[in-house]
């Protein structure tokens, strides 16, 4: 059981991690690193959910955290599948290079 005084620090940590992930998505050009950044954002949210769950003394936040983990796993499956496909046709792995939808 965490002490209530810990709660702001938990939220601040989650916000810090989320910002870090968001900046990673925006700044990095390697899709693998972008993926990792997205995972970082998801886990920051998980941390916030679990923190709230403990603070409010309810299980719902924890259930949500499990949902997020499952969805994140599914997303990684799809995303990595796409990436290996892109790599296998000989394209450079660079998110700025993958702009066919515009053209």
């Amino acid at each position: 059981m965490l002490s209530p005084a810990m709660f702001p620090w938990i939220l601040l940590t989650a916000a810090y991690l989320f910002t870090l992930g968001a900046l990673g998505v925006l700044i990095r050009r390697n899709p693998l690193v972008v993926f990792m950044s997205i995972e970082l954002m998801l886990n920051a949210v998980n941390l916030a959910l679990v923190g709230y769950s403990s603070f409010l003394n309810s299980e719902e936040g924890q259930v949500f955290a499990f949902m997020v983990i499952v969805v994140a796993a599914a997303e990684v499956v799809v995303g990595l599948g796409l990436l290996t496909r892109v790599f296998s046709i000989g394209r450079e792995l660079d998110v700025d290079d993958l702009d066919e939808l515009k053209r």
């Binding site: 925006l26 050009r29 066919e100």
Partner: protein
């Protein structure tokens, strides 16, 4: 004739040419020349057969029941208790039947002729499609018993005339001529439409919904007047316009302007000679036999109104006779074979217009009937000549054709005699209407004397044309090597020559100088007079004297022409070179400078105005519109730039807006607290 059979027959005679037009135009290019020749001609033959059936029905109908008006269907239902409905009404009466017979009968002969004339033309499907469409529009025009339908037919014949004058559209002159014809026609169309509006607004039937003396609501008063577009109803209630009132005079003058534009009468006549740019069968069908006489038909159809306005009908008579003289004078010196015949058409139609202007409607329609025969004959024979001389139309390059093209030359001679008014068709109809001119019309007998002068002029130009083109020695290699046309082009000519030769005799036999069959046939149509009494016919003795004078004058004209242009006994060149006289042939050759005057007075100022308006219009009108489109382009440019296609950009927008949204929610929560 019962209503059902009238509706059936009228529908058939309308639909057959329209069907032919559609078949030729849509399937012709696919199925080829033979199909087009058969489809285009058979449709008109079938229409002619139907017209004959209608004619027999009308002949057989009991007196007083020859005129039938039926509604084919209700086209536009504009509500307000059925007052404003436009229903497709047709009237079958003696006048319409006479027109129908000429349109489909002469039309059939000319269609057969066209098979030969257009033998080598690649656009034959288009040609027959237009020609069939013309027949349809003309039939619609003469059957119409509703102002709107009449105007549609009126405009559709102008359209087909435009299409056919400009048939050889790769020739600049043909396109310009077609445009000129169309613009002149539109002047007449506008006048006709204004006249229709005036009739619609002013000729109303008073319904007994509000008994006199009773106090009625405004709506009841309004509903009391039944506005109508139906011609029989308009004629039946025409007296509500007031005999001799300014209104009826205005309506009649507007109708007359429409008629003048269609019938190439002064001052709207300049399009007809230029219209000769079209193929010769077109000139024969549209610009001689049928469409240009639509003006005569219009005035005859609206005779109830013209009877109510002595001023307007007097003006019509004067313009008709004036055009007859003017066109005859111009025809004397033209060198294009078709233009000479075009001016003669104008002159002969002037006589018809004169006849309907003085109230001799049957005489005018009689001239229309016989003129259709001999003028179609002259054009088709001229077409044979042009064909044989490989598109040479200048009569100075002809000569000596009577030994090379015997059938055509004899037919042309019959046509010329009929035109000049000796022995054949024209003798009867022209003397008939001039006989009426002796006793009726404004300034009697001044116009009659002018008419006699027209007879002399007609004899002169008709035999100048015949003498120059057909007698003497050939003056070019083309004329020397000319050969007679094939039989498909000769048969219609021969039939028309036969008709021109016998029609007048047959119709007036056995009383040659008095009332004739056409008169008896048509008079029931023209028996309804509101204003003046019907035109007085000359008695037998006076008619005989008039006949003698008229034929004598024609003979003088023919004789002088033969002496000058056939036997070359008289040489005019010295007389015409005299200082005072020199002006006369110059005026005639330049068509009295009408084209130049119109160019100076109308075309140039309007063109200058258009140019000025364009200079003014480009910045003033186009500026704001361009500005609006520029604003839209620039504004959308901002959003277009956002769509970079880079994932990182889209992600940035998302983050940006999530941040903005979150901050906004937090602020709102803070304010709420």
């Amino acid at each position: 004739m019962s209503q059902q059979s009238a509706a059936l027959l009228a529908g058939l005679v309308l639909l057959l040419p329209l069907l032919g037009s559609a078949l030729c135009g849509l399937l012709g290019p696919v199925l080829g020349r033979r199909f087009v020749n058969w489809a285009g001609t058979l449709s008109i033959a079938a229409a002619f057969a139907v017209a004959l059936v209608i004619f027999i029905q009308v002949l057989g109908a009991a007196t007083g029941h020859q005129s039938v008006t039926v509604s084919l269907w209700n086209w536009l239902d504009l509500g307000s208790g059925g007052n404003l409905n436009v229903s497709v009404d047709v009237t079958i009466d003696q006048l319409a039947v006479l027109m129908l017979l000429v349109i489909t009968g002469v039309g059939l002969l000319i269609h057969v002729y066209s098979v030969g004339y257009m033998e080598h033309d690649p656009g034959v499907a288009r040609f027959f499609s237009y020609m069939n469409f013309f027949i349809f529009s003309m039939v619609l025009l003469v059957l119409a018993a509703n102002l709107v339908i009449l105007i549609i037919g009126w405009a559709a014949v102008a359209l087909s005339s435009y299409l056919l004058i400009g048939f050889w559209y790769e020739r600049q002159s043909a396109v310009v001529a077609a445009r000129k014809a169309m613009i002149t026609q539109v002047i007449g169309d506008v006048a006709l439409v204004i006249a229709a509006f005036l009739l619609f607004l002013n000729v109303t039937t008073v319904l007994p919904t509000c008994p006199p003396g009773a106090v009625c609501s405004l709506q009841a008063l309004f509903a009391q007047h039944l506005y109508t577009l139906s011609l029989p109803q308009i004629f039946a209630n025409a007296s509500s316009l007031g005999v001799g009132s300014p209104l009826v005079t205005l309506v009649c003058i507007l109708l007359a302007v429409g008629a003048f534009a269609k019938s190439a009468q002064f001052p709207l006549h300049t399009w007809l000679p230029d219209a000769m740019e079209g193929p010769t069968p077109v000139s024969a069908l549209i610009h001689a036999a049928t469409m240009v006489t639509a003006g005569v038909y219009l005035i005859a159809r609206f005779h109830v109104l013209f009877e109510m306005s002595p001023i307007a009908s007097g003006m019509v008579a004067c313009v008709g006779m004036g055009t007859a003289v003017m066109a005859g004078f111009i025809a004397l010196s033209q060198v294009d074979i078709k233009r000479v015949i075009a001016y003669s058409t104008m002159s002969q139609i002037g006589l018809m217009i004169f006849a309907v202007g003085i109230g001799a409607y049957a005489a005018g329609m009689y001239q229309f009937l016989l003129h259709a025969f001999f003028k179609a004959l002259l054009f088709l024979a001229a077409g044979n000549v042009i064909h044989a001389l490989h598109d040479e139309q200048d009569i100075r390059e002809m000569g000596g054709l009577n030994s090379r093209m015997r059938v055509t030359a004899w037919s042309f001679l019959i046509g010329s005699l009929a035109l000049a008014g000796f022995l054949f068709a024209g003798m009867f109809s022209k003397e008939d209407l001039l006989g009426f001119g002796l006793l009726n019309g404004p300034g009697t007998p001044a116009l009659y004397i002018v008419g006699i002068a027209v007879n002399v002029l007609t004899g002169l130009y008709a035999f100048r044309l015949y003498g120059t083109a057909f007698t003497g020695q050939p003056r070019s290699d083309a004329a020397r090597n000319a050969h007679e046309a094939g039989w498909v082009m000769l048969w219609p000519v021969v039939i028309l020559a036969g008709l021109s030769a016998v029609a007048g005799w047959a119709l007036q036999w056995p009383v040659t100088f008095g009332p004739h069959l056409i008169n008896d046939f048509l008079n029931p149509v023209f028996s309804y007079f509101v204003g003046r009494p019907p035109a007085t016919a000359p008695g037998t003795s006076l008619g005989l004297v008039g006949f003698g004078i008229g034929v004598g004058c024609s003979l003088v004209g023919i004789g002088v022409a033969v002496l000058i242009w056939v036997r070359h006994d008289w040489d005019l060149s010295r007389v015409l070179a005299l200082p005072g006289v020199r002006l006369i042939p110059q005026l005639s050759r330049n068509k009295l400078y009408f084209d130049e005057i119109y160019d100076l007075l109308l075309v140039r100022p309007i063109r200058a105005l258009a140019r000025g308006l364009r200079r003014f219009g480009e910045p003033v009108m186009d500026g704001p519109i361009r500005g609006i489109s520029a604003i839209a382009t620039d504004f959308s440019g901002i959003f277009r730039a956002l769509q970079s296609g880079l994932i990182r950009d889209y992600a940035s927008y998302m983050v940006l807006f999530v941040v903005i949204f979150t901050v906004a929610v937090m602020l709102a929560a803070g304010v709420a607290k």
